[in-house]
Amino acid sequence: MNPSVDALRATFGNAIGRALESCGDTIVYVGRDALLDVMAWLRDTPGHTYDYLVDVTAVEYRDRERPLEVVYGLRSLSRRADLRVKVELDSQGDLTVDSVVPLWRGADWLEREVYDMFGITFRGHPDLRRILMWETYAEGYPLRKDFPLRGRFSRAEQVRQALAARPEAHYSLEELSIADAYEELPADMKERLRRGTRGELPDSE
């Protein structure tokens, strides 16, 4: 067992949940509210110095009773040691967890991907929007277990939506605001942007 687990228990007490070992890696469960403090402590405390974030991902089990897990892979480059930190989220409840982007810039796209694929919101993320699916994707979160393999919509509906997408659906709001482009946009586009309903399906004429 990784000695950092005992040190975490001594420092954070009840915020640290169970710890176990699987295939040579130590996994420690952390309470959702303490996550950011625990991560900052793991990164900065001498003797632990997990300075490298290997991965951020999430796991949903086939067993519906089990909570969703957000999984952080940490590594200390100097000590060549790994630690896996997990946060459990009730899949029926609030799927929100603190973002670790303030600690590791590398978490930026990784958290966006988890948001995109699992619908988990990262509080404090500077730019949390879909990354692999397009921004107006309406079928839900593909890696959730209740998402069917071929998607929720029929193939005909998927094709219809792709063909009917408005051009501005391919730009983010941030991009459309660059260089004051907003004032130059056609009126109907501006109206849709203001309503926040970009890329909605056009009325069938």
């Binding site: 490298y52 590791w104 699916m133 393999l149 730009y171 660059i178 260089a179 482009a181």
Partner: protein
């Protein structure tokens, strides 16, 4: 619906046919204050310099990049979702198609993770064959990178040399696996096939002649004034920034961090091979080039050592629950037929648990994270995609550089969109 698209609108500044100044449709300033006029241009998704279907929306101040916003997902295939519906051995063909410039190394990465999960120890011959597979992949991936990057920066000759070398490895790969790209060379507990008779001689001939091409490329590029001018001091990341961005592979090492999974968390007995970890100093595009070029010759050294030590013996473990019996036995022997049937119909069950294996792929650390609930299909198959994570540092690297440098910086990341989008 209006026919005007944003793309057209944003890219039409300049002078009209009769010499009158056309209004820049974006940011129409009342006074002609050029410094305040930023232009938004769209590069890709179909553009030769984006190395795949990457789309970059770039905000420019004159020719200087103010901001880069990458858009991904044009090649998203949902491999991870698909893997949850597949047996472990059925996932291996999917790994070919993630980083399709080094398919054999991806096969190895997945097989190692599945074997760790199931507690399988592979045979000595299989271990060495997998090292050969990984290092061959590294050479072809770096050759593609070198060729395409030199084209991006205006040098055409190294491209031809690099692709010629790649072709020679591809021929060996085809000899071994029957495929150039979709190799699927590993199986859980062994390999798909042993190497054919003249493979070892062919690969040895390659390792003897390949260094000549490397030195030619080195002579053409390393001290070339244009190449040096286009790459030195461009896209710099310090060691601390590279670590904070979770970069891996040549990107991390070019910034001066001597971290190589093969040395620091060895797999496949890499600790018994004699090779050097190549480390850069400045973290710019030039150092990334030097690191990749030198890694090719280190891979060549590893290949030679692997060929020298390649032991005889079986390539598969002797466990009929994991490895399919030979076809002749499955057809003639009742017990073998039952094992064959059970493996094909039910798959190989993995115990409850989870395993993470990181291997040093050409692009960086390729992680395979498998979670099992005791059935023959993983609950979660996660690929830690090295080029996805390396690409996430692009906006920071490119800000403040010229647009032409953005092309060099983007090339230096060495992305494969099949892996970025998965």
């Amino acid at each position: 619906m209006s026919k005007r698209t944003v793309e057209v609108e944003l890219a039409t500044p300049g002078v009209g046919a009769r010499g009158e100044t056309l209004r820049v449709p974006l940011g129409v300033a009342q006074q002609p204050d050029l410094a305040a006029e930023h232009m938004l241009i769209n590069i890709g998704p179909q553009h030769p310099a984006t190395h795949g279907v990457l789309r970059l929306v770039v905000e420019l101040d004159g020719e200087t990049v103010v901001r880069v916003i990458p858009h991904l997902g044009y090649l998203h295939s949902g491999f991870e979702k698909l893997g949850e519906y597949r047996h472990y051995n059925q996932i291996i063909p999917l790994t070919d198609r993630t980083d399709y410039l080094s398919p054999m190394a991806n096969n190895v990465g997945f097989a190692l993770a599945a074997e760790l999960l199931m507690g399988i120890a592979i045979t000595p011959r299989c271990t060495v064959l997998r090292v050969i597979a990984c290092e061959m992949s590294r050479i072809i991936s770096h050759m593609v990178w070198l060729g395409t990057t030199s084209i991006d920066l205006g040098a055409f000759t190294p491209f031809l040399w690099a692709f010629q070398e790649r072709e020679r490895i591809y021929n060996l790969q085809e000899m071994w696996t029957g495929a150039r790209l979709t190799t699927s060379v590993t199986r859980v507990g062994g390999m798909m096939a042993d190497v054919p008779d003249d493979f070892v001689a062919g690969l040895r001939h390659f390792t003897q002649t390949f260094p000549k091409t490397l030195s030619e490329i080195d002579r053409v590029l390393t001290r070339n004034a244009v190449w040096v001018g286009r790459t030195q001091g461009v896209g710099v990341l310090t060691a601390a920034e590279a670590i904070n961005h979770s970069l891996s592979g040549p990107m991390l090492r070019a910034s001066g961090v001597a971290y190589d999974v093969r040395k620091d968390k060895p797999y496949l007995d890499y600790e018994t091979y004699d090779f050097d970890v190549v480390v850069g100093e400045h973290g710019d595009v030039y150092d990334r080039y030097l690191v990749r070029l030198e890694e090719c010759s280190q891979s060549n050294r590893i290949l030679q050592q692997a060929l020298d030590r390649l032991p005889d013996g079986p390539i598969n473990i002797a466990d009929p629950r994991v490895i399919l019996p030979p076809k002749s036995r499955a057809m003639n022997d009742m017990e073998a037929m039952i094992y064959h049937f059970k493996q094909v119909m039910e798959g190989v069950k993995a115990p409850v648990g989870e395993a993470y294996v990181g291997i040093e792929n050409p692009k960086g650390e390729l992680g395979t994270y498998l979670v099992s609930d005791g059935t023959a299909k993983p609950v979660r198959w996660r690929i830690r995609p090295p080029s996805f994570i390396n690409l996430s540092a692009l906006p920071q690297m490119a800000a403040g550089h010229l647009l032409s440098d953005l092309i060099a910086i983007n090339a230096s990341v060495d992305i494969v969109m099949g892996e970025v989008d998965r």
